[in-house]
Symmetry: C2
Subunit: 208 residues, 2 copies
Protein backbone atom coordinates (compact mmCIF):
# COMPACT_ATOMS: atom_id res chain seq x y z
CA UNK A 1 0.00 0.00 0.00
CA UNK A 2 3.01 2.24 -0.50
CA UNK A 3 1.95 5.43 1.28
CA UNK A 4 -1.59 5.97 0.19
CA UNK A 5 -2.71 7.03 3.67
CA UNK A 6 -1.36 10.48 4.24
CA UNK A 7 -3.37 11.39 7.30
CA UNK A 8 -2.82 8.28 9.36
CA UNK A 9 0.90 8.24 9.77
CA UNK A 10 1.37 5.04 11.70
CA UNK A 11 5.03 5.58 12.29
CA UNK A 12 6.77 4.31 15.37
CA UNK A 13 9.50 6.87 14.76
CA UNK A 14 8.68 10.47 14.12
CA UNK A 15 11.15 13.26 14.67
CA UNK A 16 8.57 16.03 14.95
CA UNK A 17 6.23 14.14 17.24
CA UNK A 18 9.07 13.06 19.50
CA UNK A 19 10.27 16.63 19.71
CA UNK A 20 6.83 17.77 20.75
CA UNK A 21 6.53 15.01 23.31
CA UNK A 22 9.84 15.94 24.87
CA UNK A 23 9.02 19.63 24.84
CA UNK A 24 5.65 18.91 26.42
CA UNK A 25 7.15 16.90 29.23
CA UNK A 26 9.91 19.46 29.70
CA UNK A 27 7.36 22.23 29.93
CA UNK A 28 5.44 20.52 32.71
CA UNK A 29 8.48 19.63 34.75
CA UNK A 30 10.27 22.95 34.34
CA UNK A 31 7.08 24.89 34.95
CA UNK A 32 6.73 23.16 38.29
CA UNK A 33 10.32 22.92 39.46
CA UNK A 34 12.43 25.35 37.46
CA UNK A 35 15.00 24.79 34.75
CA UNK A 36 17.87 24.18 37.12
CA UNK A 37 15.72 22.02 39.36
CA UNK A 38 14.86 19.54 36.63
CA UNK A 39 17.22 16.94 35.20
CA UNK A 40 17.27 15.53 31.70
CA UNK A 41 16.42 12.18 33.23
CA UNK A 42 13.36 13.68 34.90
CA UNK A 43 12.14 14.91 31.55
CA UNK A 44 12.64 11.71 29.58
CA UNK A 45 11.00 9.77 32.40
CA UNK A 46 7.80 11.68 31.63
CA UNK A 47 8.12 10.48 28.08
CA UNK A 48 7.70 7.31 26.08
CA UNK A 49 11.24 7.90 24.86
CA UNK A 50 14.73 7.69 26.30
CA UNK A 51 17.85 9.73 26.63
CA UNK A 52 18.96 8.78 23.15
CA UNK A 53 15.96 10.53 21.65
CA UNK A 54 16.56 13.57 23.81
CA UNK A 55 20.12 14.12 22.73
CA UNK A 56 19.22 13.33 19.17
CA UNK A 57 16.94 16.37 19.23
CA UNK A 58 18.87 18.72 21.50
CA UNK A 59 22.67 19.00 21.62
CA UNK A 60 22.48 20.10 25.25
CA UNK A 61 20.03 20.81 28.05
CA UNK A 62 20.39 24.53 27.40
CA UNK A 63 19.28 24.03 23.82
CA UNK A 64 16.15 22.35 25.08
CA UNK A 65 15.53 25.41 27.23
CA UNK A 66 15.93 27.68 24.23
CA UNK A 67 13.50 25.58 22.21
CA UNK A 68 11.05 25.70 25.08
CA UNK A 69 11.01 29.48 24.99
CA UNK A 70 10.78 29.74 21.23
CA UNK A 71 8.55 26.82 20.34
CA UNK A 72 6.27 26.48 23.35
CA UNK A 73 6.13 29.53 25.58
CA UNK A 74 6.15 32.30 22.99
CA UNK A 75 3.30 30.77 20.97
CA UNK A 76 1.42 30.24 24.22
CA UNK A 77 1.67 33.94 25.06
CA UNK A 78 0.27 34.84 21.66
CA UNK A 79 -2.56 32.35 21.94
CA UNK A 80 -3.59 33.28 25.45
CA UNK A 81 -2.97 37.01 25.71
CA UNK A 82 -2.84 38.51 22.24
CA UNK A 83 -5.13 36.68 19.82
CA UNK A 84 -8.20 36.81 22.11
CA UNK A 85 -8.01 40.62 22.05
CA UNK A 86 -9.07 40.62 18.40
CA UNK A 87 -12.59 39.91 19.50
CA UNK A 88 -12.95 43.01 21.64
CA UNK A 89 -13.87 46.39 20.29
CA UNK A 90 -12.12 47.86 23.32
CA UNK A 91 -8.88 45.95 23.95
CA UNK A 92 -8.62 47.31 27.49
CA UNK A 93 -11.83 45.48 28.33
CA UNK A 94 -10.42 42.43 26.61
CA UNK A 95 -7.29 42.50 28.71
CA UNK A 96 -9.26 42.76 31.96
CA UNK A 97 -11.63 40.00 30.84
CA UNK A 98 -8.73 37.74 29.92
CA UNK A 99 -7.01 38.31 33.24
CA UNK A 100 -10.22 37.56 35.08
CA UNK A 101 -10.65 34.34 33.12
CA UNK A 102 -7.07 33.09 33.11
CA UNK A 103 -5.96 34.29 36.53
CA UNK A 104 -8.93 35.34 38.63
CA UNK A 105 -10.96 32.24 37.96
CA UNK A 106 -8.04 29.89 38.46
CA UNK A 107 -7.68 27.81 41.57
CA UNK A 108 -4.71 28.37 43.87
CA UNK A 109 -3.46 25.00 42.69
CA UNK A 110 -3.24 26.29 39.13
CA UNK A 111 -1.67 29.56 40.20
CA UNK A 112 1.00 28.16 42.42
CA UNK A 113 3.37 27.65 39.52
CA UNK A 114 3.03 31.19 38.22
CA UNK A 115 3.68 32.20 34.63
CA UNK A 116 5.97 29.99 32.53
CA UNK A 117 7.63 32.97 30.87
CA UNK A 118 8.11 34.95 34.07
CA UNK A 119 9.52 31.93 35.86
CA UNK A 120 12.23 31.48 33.28
CA UNK A 121 12.98 35.18 33.11
CA UNK A 122 13.57 35.37 36.83
CA UNK A 123 15.55 32.17 37.01
CA UNK A 124 17.58 32.08 33.82
CA UNK A 125 17.97 35.57 32.35
CA UNK A 126 20.93 36.48 34.57
CA UNK A 127 22.44 33.02 34.41
CA UNK A 128 22.74 32.44 30.67
CA UNK A 129 22.97 34.96 27.81
CA UNK A 130 21.29 32.61 25.35
CA UNK A 131 18.27 32.40 27.62
CA UNK A 132 18.27 36.13 28.24
CA UNK A 133 18.28 36.90 24.52
CA UNK A 134 15.30 34.66 23.80
CA UNK A 135 13.33 35.62 26.90
CA UNK A 136 13.89 39.26 26.13
CA UNK A 137 12.61 38.70 22.59
CA UNK A 138 9.47 37.02 23.93
CA UNK A 139 8.77 39.93 26.28
CA UNK A 140 9.38 42.46 23.52
CA UNK A 141 6.98 40.62 21.26
CA UNK A 142 4.34 40.60 23.97
CA UNK A 143 4.79 44.33 24.52
CA UNK A 144 4.75 45.13 20.81
CA UNK A 145 1.60 43.12 20.18
CA UNK A 146 -0.11 44.69 23.18
CA UNK A 147 0.90 48.09 21.91
CA UNK A 148 -0.64 47.25 18.55
CA UNK A 149 -3.99 46.70 20.21
CA UNK A 150 -3.64 49.84 22.31
CA UNK A 151 -2.96 51.91 19.21
CA UNK A 152 -6.11 50.52 17.72
CA UNK A 153 -7.97 51.43 20.90
CA UNK A 154 -6.58 54.93 20.72
CA UNK A 155 -7.61 55.30 17.09
CA UNK A 156 -11.10 54.10 18.00
CA UNK A 157 -11.33 56.67 20.76
CA UNK A 158 -11.11 54.42 23.79
CA UNK A 159 -7.77 55.76 24.98
CA UNK A 160 -6.81 59.38 25.58
CA UNK A 161 -4.80 60.86 22.72
CA UNK A 162 -1.97 62.01 24.95
CA UNK A 163 -1.26 58.49 26.25
CA UNK A 164 1.95 56.84 25.07
CA UNK A 165 0.61 53.41 24.15
CA UNK A 166 3.99 51.74 23.99
CA UNK A 167 4.71 52.81 27.55
CA UNK A 168 1.30 51.67 28.66
CA UNK A 169 1.94 48.32 26.99
CA UNK A 170 5.13 48.00 29.03
CA UNK A 171 3.13 48.57 32.18
CA UNK A 172 0.43 46.10 31.22
CA UNK A 173 2.87 43.29 30.51
CA UNK A 174 4.62 44.12 33.76
CA UNK A 175 1.28 43.82 35.53
CA UNK A 176 0.67 40.37 34.00
CA UNK A 177 3.98 39.11 35.30
CA UNK A 178 3.51 40.91 38.57
CA UNK A 179 0.07 39.41 39.12
CA UNK A 180 1.34 35.91 38.54
CA UNK A 181 4.38 36.53 40.67
CA UNK A 182 2.44 37.88 43.61
CA UNK A 183 -0.25 35.23 43.55
CA UNK A 184 2.48 32.64 43.44
CA UNK A 185 4.12 34.08 46.51
CA UNK A 186 1.08 34.93 48.59
CA UNK A 187 -1.27 32.37 50.02
CA UNK A 188 -4.22 34.73 49.96
CA UNK A 189 -6.74 33.73 47.27
CA UNK A 190 -8.42 37.14 47.44
CA UNK A 191 -5.26 38.93 46.43
CA UNK A 192 -6.29 38.86 42.78
CA UNK A 193 -9.29 41.07 43.46
CA UNK A 194 -7.07 43.61 45.15
CA UNK A 195 -4.67 43.73 42.23
CA UNK A 196 -7.46 43.72 39.67
CA UNK A 197 -9.17 46.70 41.22
CA UNK A 198 -6.03 48.81 41.03
CA UNK A 199 -5.27 47.78 37.48
CA UNK A 200 -8.80 48.71 36.51
CA UNK A 201 -8.27 52.08 38.09
CA UNK A 202 -5.17 52.54 35.98
CA UNK A 203 -7.11 51.59 32.87
CA UNK A 204 -9.75 54.16 33.76
CA UNK A 205 -7.05 56.79 34.07
CA UNK A 206 -5.90 56.27 30.47
CA UNK A 207 -9.40 55.81 29.07
CA UNK A 208 -11.43 58.58 27.52
Amino acid sequence: MKTANKRIKKKTRNLELSRKEILGAAFQEIFARGFQGVSVDDIVARTSLTKGAFYHQFPTKLDLGYALVEEVITPMIIERWIKPLDQYKNPLQGILKRMQELIGNSSPADLRYGCPLNNLVQEMAPVDPGFKKRLSAALELWITETDRHLRRAKKDGYIKPEVNTRRAAHFIVMAHEGFFGMLKGLEDPKAFDALYESLKRFFDSIST
Copy 2:
Protein backbone atom coordinates in the same frame (compact mmCIF):
# COMPACT_ATOMS: atom_id res chain seq x y z
CA MET B 1 43.21 40.40 81.17
CA LYS B 2 40.33 38.05 81.60
CA THR B 3 37.70 39.72 79.41
CA ALA B 4 38.11 43.37 80.16
CA ASN B 5 37.73 44.35 76.51
CA LYS B 6 34.11 43.94 75.62
CA ARG B 7 34.11 45.84 72.36
CA ILE B 8 37.19 44.39 70.74
CA LYS B 9 36.35 40.73 70.61
CA LYS B 10 39.52 39.36 69.08
CA LYS B 11 38.19 35.89 68.70
CA THR B 12 39.26 33.59 65.94
CA ARG B 13 36.04 31.69 66.42
CA ASN B 14 32.74 33.46 66.58
CA LEU B 15 29.44 31.75 65.91
CA GLU B 16 27.51 34.92 65.10
CA LEU B 17 30.14 36.41 62.85
CA SER B 18 30.61 33.16 60.99
CA ARG B 19 26.88 32.91 60.45
CA LYS B 20 26.81 36.39 59.00
CA GLU B 21 29.77 35.68 56.77
CA ILE B 22 28.11 32.57 55.39
CA LEU B 23 24.78 34.32 54.93
CA GLY B 24 26.53 37.18 53.16
CA ALA B 25 28.30 34.88 50.75
CA ALA B 26 25.14 32.86 50.21
CA PHE B 27 23.19 36.01 49.46
CA GLN B 28 25.60 37.09 46.74
CA GLU B 29 25.80 33.69 45.08
CA ILE B 30 22.10 32.90 45.26
CA PHE B 31 21.16 36.39 44.18
CA ALA B 32 23.20 35.89 41.03
CA ARG B 33 22.55 32.26 40.20
CA GLY B 34 19.47 31.11 42.07
CA PHE B 35 19.08 28.80 45.06
CA GLN B 36 19.08 25.62 43.02
CA GLY B 37 21.92 26.86 40.86
CA VAL B 38 24.30 27.34 43.76
CA SER B 39 26.03 24.57 45.69
CA VAL B 40 27.07 24.54 49.30
CA ASP B 41 30.65 24.31 48.09
CA ASP B 42 30.18 27.45 46.00
CA ILE B 43 29.04 29.31 49.09
CA VAL B 44 31.81 28.23 51.44
CA ALA B 45 34.36 28.97 48.73
CA ARG B 46 33.32 32.63 49.00
CA THR B 47 34.08 32.43 52.68
CA SER B 48 37.07 32.23 54.98
CA LEU B 49 35.43 29.12 56.43
CA THR B 50 34.83 25.54 55.33
CA LYS B 51 32.04 23.05 55.05
CA GLY B 52 32.34 22.12 58.68
CA ALA B 53 31.36 25.63 59.71
CA PHE B 54 28.48 25.61 57.28
CA TYR B 55 26.88 22.45 58.59
CA HIS B 56 27.57 23.51 62.13
CA GLN B 57 25.29 26.49 61.53
CA PHE B 58 22.71 25.01 59.19
CA PRO B 59 21.42 21.43 59.35
CA THR B 60 20.73 21.49 55.62
CA LYS B 61 20.95 23.71 52.56
CA LEU B 62 17.23 24.41 52.81
CA ASP B 63 17.70 25.75 56.33
CA LEU B 64 20.27 28.17 54.99
CA GLY B 65 17.69 29.33 52.48
CA TYR B 66 15.14 29.87 55.22
CA ALA B 67 17.64 31.87 57.26
CA LEU B 68 18.45 33.92 54.18
CA VAL B 69 14.83 34.97 53.84
CA GLU B 70 14.33 35.69 57.51
CA GLU B 71 17.65 37.17 58.54
CA VAL B 72 18.85 38.91 55.40
CA ILE B 73 16.16 39.59 52.82
CA THR B 74 13.27 40.60 55.08
CA PRO B 75 15.36 43.15 57.01
CA MET B 76 16.66 44.45 53.69
CA ILE B 77 13.11 45.08 52.46
CA ILE B 78 12.34 47.04 55.60
CA GLU B 79 15.52 49.08 55.37
CA ARG B 80 15.22 49.89 51.68
CA TRP B 81 11.50 50.27 51.06
CA ILE B 82 9.74 50.94 54.35
CA LYS B 83 11.89 52.94 56.74
CA PRO B 84 12.79 55.65 54.20
CA LEU B 85 9.11 56.47 53.84
CA ASP B 86 9.08 57.90 57.36
CA GLN B 87 10.83 60.97 56.04
CA TYR B 88 8.13 61.87 53.55
CA LYS B 89 5.03 63.80 54.41
CA ASN B 90 3.40 62.18 51.40
CA PRO B 91 4.40 58.49 51.29
CA LEU B 92 3.33 58.21 47.65
CA GLN B 93 6.03 60.69 46.75
CA GLY B 94 8.43 58.74 48.91
CA ILE B 95 7.70 55.52 47.10
CA LEU B 96 8.24 57.11 43.69
CA LYS B 97 11.43 58.75 44.89
CA ARG B 98 12.75 55.51 46.31
CA MET B 99 12.01 53.63 43.10
CA GLN B 100 13.76 56.30 41.09
CA GLU B 101 16.80 56.07 43.37
CA LEU B 102 17.01 52.32 43.84
CA ILE B 103 15.85 51.19 40.40
CA GLY B 104 15.83 54.07 37.95
CA ASN B 105 19.31 55.28 38.79
CA SER B 106 20.81 51.79 38.83
CA SER B 107 22.99 50.57 36.02
CA PRO B 108 21.83 47.61 33.91
CA ALA B 109 24.60 45.65 35.59
CA ASP B 110 22.99 46.18 38.99
CA LEU B 111 19.53 45.42 37.70
CA ARG B 112 20.31 42.25 35.88
CA TYR B 113 19.92 40.15 39.02
CA GLY B 114 16.51 41.56 39.85
CA CYS B 115 15.05 41.61 43.36
CA PRO B 116 16.36 39.07 45.89
CA LEU B 117 12.91 38.45 47.32
CA ASN B 118 11.15 38.15 43.99
CA ASN B 119 13.82 35.80 42.68
CA LEU B 120 13.29 33.38 45.52
CA VAL B 121 9.52 33.65 45.33
CA GLN B 122 9.50 32.71 41.67
CA GLU B 123 12.04 29.95 42.01
CA MET B 124 11.30 28.35 45.36
CA ALA B 125 7.73 29.05 46.46
CA PRO B 126 6.22 26.20 44.43
CA VAL B 127 9.13 23.87 45.11
CA ASP B 128 9.26 23.86 48.89
CA PRO B 129 6.56 24.62 51.47
CA GLY B 130 9.05 25.90 54.02
CA PHE B 131 10.27 28.48 51.54
CA LYS B 132 6.77 29.39 50.51
CA LYS B 133 5.70 30.01 54.07
CA ARG B 134 8.59 32.35 54.81
CA LEU B 135 8.47 34.13 51.46
CA SER B 136 4.77 34.65 51.86
CA ALA B 137 5.35 36.13 55.31
CA ALA B 138 7.93 38.54 53.90
CA LEU B 139 5.54 39.72 51.19
CA GLU B 140 2.71 40.11 53.68
CA LEU B 141 4.94 42.19 55.92
CA TRP B 142 5.91 44.40 53.00
CA ILE B 143 2.27 44.89 52.08
CA THR B 144 1.20 45.56 55.66
CA GLU B 145 3.92 48.12 56.24
CA THR B 146 3.15 49.84 52.96
CA ASP B 147 -0.50 49.93 53.92
CA ARG B 148 0.43 51.55 57.19
CA HIS B 149 2.02 54.42 55.32
CA LEU B 150 -0.89 54.67 52.91
CA ARG B 151 -3.33 54.93 55.80
CA ARG B 152 -1.27 57.75 57.18
CA ALA B 153 -1.37 59.41 53.76
CA LYS B 154 -5.10 59.01 53.66
CA LYS B 155 -5.49 60.51 57.12
CA ASP B 156 -3.31 63.42 56.06
CA GLY B 157 -5.48 64.02 53.02
CA TYR B 158 -3.11 62.87 50.29
CA ILE B 159 -5.21 59.88 49.25
CA LYS B 160 -8.89 59.85 48.34
CA PRO B 161 -11.11 58.64 51.19
CA GLU B 162 -12.79 55.97 49.07
CA VAL B 163 -9.49 54.23 48.25
CA ASN B 164 -8.90 50.85 49.88
CA THR B 165 -5.32 51.33 51.07
CA ARG B 166 -4.66 47.67 51.70
CA ARG B 167 -5.57 46.86 48.12
CA ALA B 168 -3.46 49.70 46.86
CA ALA B 169 -0.56 48.39 48.93
CA HIS B 170 -0.96 45.03 47.23
CA PHE B 171 -0.69 46.72 43.88
CA ILE B 172 2.32 48.78 44.87
CA VAL B 173 4.30 45.79 46.11
CA MET B 174 3.30 43.96 42.94
CA ALA B 175 4.66 46.87 40.95
CA HIS B 176 7.99 46.72 42.80
CA GLU B 177 8.40 43.06 41.95
CA GLY B 178 7.10 43.62 38.46
CA PHE B 179 9.52 46.46 37.79
CA PHE B 180 12.48 44.38 38.87
CA GLY B 181 11.25 41.40 36.94
CA MET B 182 10.72 43.28 33.70
CA LEU B 183 14.00 45.16 33.84
CA LYS B 184 15.74 41.88 34.48
CA GLY B 185 14.16 40.35 31.42
CA LEU B 186 14.35 43.23 29.00
CA GLU B 187 17.57 44.66 27.69
CA ASP B 188 16.10 48.11 27.20
CA PRO B 189 17.52 50.57 29.76
CA LYS B 190 14.73 53.06 29.06
CA ALA B 191 12.07 50.60 30.16
CA PHE B 192 12.11 51.99 33.68
CA ASP B 193 10.87 55.37 32.50
CA ALA B 194 7.97 53.72 30.73
CA LEU B 195 6.95 51.78 33.82
CA TYR B 196 7.50 54.74 36.10
CA GLU B 197 5.25 56.99 34.07
CA SER B 198 2.35 54.56 34.30
CA LEU B 199 2.82 53.97 38.00
CA LYS B 200 2.82 57.72 38.56
CA ARG B 201 -0.42 57.91 36.64
CA PHE B 202 -1.89 55.30 38.96
CA PHE B 203 -0.72 57.25 41.97
CA ASP B 204 -2.38 60.37 40.58
CA SER B 205 -5.61 58.43 40.21
CA ILE B 206 -5.74 57.59 43.91
CA SER B 207 -4.46 60.99 45.07
CA THR B 208 -6.69 63.87 46.10
